[in-house]
Subunit: 208 residues, 2 copies
Amino acid sequence: MSLQTPLKPRKTPRQARSTATVTAIFEATFQVLLSDGLVKLTTTRVAERAGVSVGTMYQYFPHKEALLYAVLEQYLYEVVIATEEACVRLEGARLGEMADGLVHAYLEAKLRHMPGSRVLYTVAAELDTDDLIDDIVRRADQAIERLLASASDAHFDDLPTVTFAVRTILVGTVREVLEKEAPASSLAMLRAQLPIMCRAYLMAVSSS
Amino acid sequence: MSLQTPLKPRKTPRQARSTATVTAIFEATFQVLLSDGLVKLTTTRVAERAGVSVGTMYQYFPHKEALLYAVLEQYLYEVVIATEEACVRLEGARLGEMADGLVHAYLEAKLRHMPGSRVLYTVAAELDTDDLIDDIVRRADQAIERLLASASDAHFDDLPTVTFAVRTILVGTVREVLEKEAPASSLAMLRAQLPIMCRAYLMAVSSS
């Protein structure tokens, strides 16, 4: 699925009606991904499932790659927005509370589309997503660094390194569990242990 | 690259001469992966680079998938063997020493084939590796659990959960950094922060 064509949707949905259509198309994409898999997914099949005409579909998403990119993009932005909102909400809190709140927000945002979020790792690997990922990482790092700098009970000498480490723990551990056909117990263990990991790491590298 | 054919090499290299041939083929595979990429790699091109005849190549690896599977398999076993050896060496040590030694062994084994290890994540995603990964994970968990149980200065109430968490931190964070075209500074940060993460987590969930 190498991409020679632009990935942006042709139309940007500005009206309520268009937004509803795009939402239905995205929802149908998840369903087709889960029932038929990435290889068999076609824009025609998604249009059918979404109950929109093929003409309407092509107005927004001229080909499969554009559709998948848009679904992935929306998913990633949802996750980073949830992370940013948590960071703003937690500003000035104590370090332990920050770690728990940040982990909770990130994990729950990732899980909102379960099991669709699992298949999106495969989608991402097939598309050229470097610029998108760079943008997401930059936004997440900015929010986390600002949050950590505001801790009421702790101070960090090297904020960029600590921010990098916290983001890497979050993204890496969640992906490691979600991407596999892991048993439900793995998800439960991650939910319980990830806050402890982040809190313990942050305490270890901070001075009060 | 869907696989209908058996992935095991036809011949198992038992003699010194055969082992040398297979080593040359594996080395050439890394070189071709890095210079030409996964899609353009062919067994013929690898045979040329390795300086072996196409006939010899096909005796061991009848097709591209068998070759890639064998390279991935050897890499993963090298990493898990290094991990197991570190666990045996660290048995009975103090918790902090264990965390540092385990992280060091895992990270250095993963980096031994840099930048080849990066491209192997792509190879793994293209092959049916569920059974192989299951076996690797089982061996790693067994070694880590046994190590943690032997700590001279700490005790864990729920060893399987702590083992799962430590393995997930190791595998998840290292992959998150290695898989991207990350700057060298990211690798340096991981080298410095990963031991702190593991040590801090283990201290947080242990009792003395």
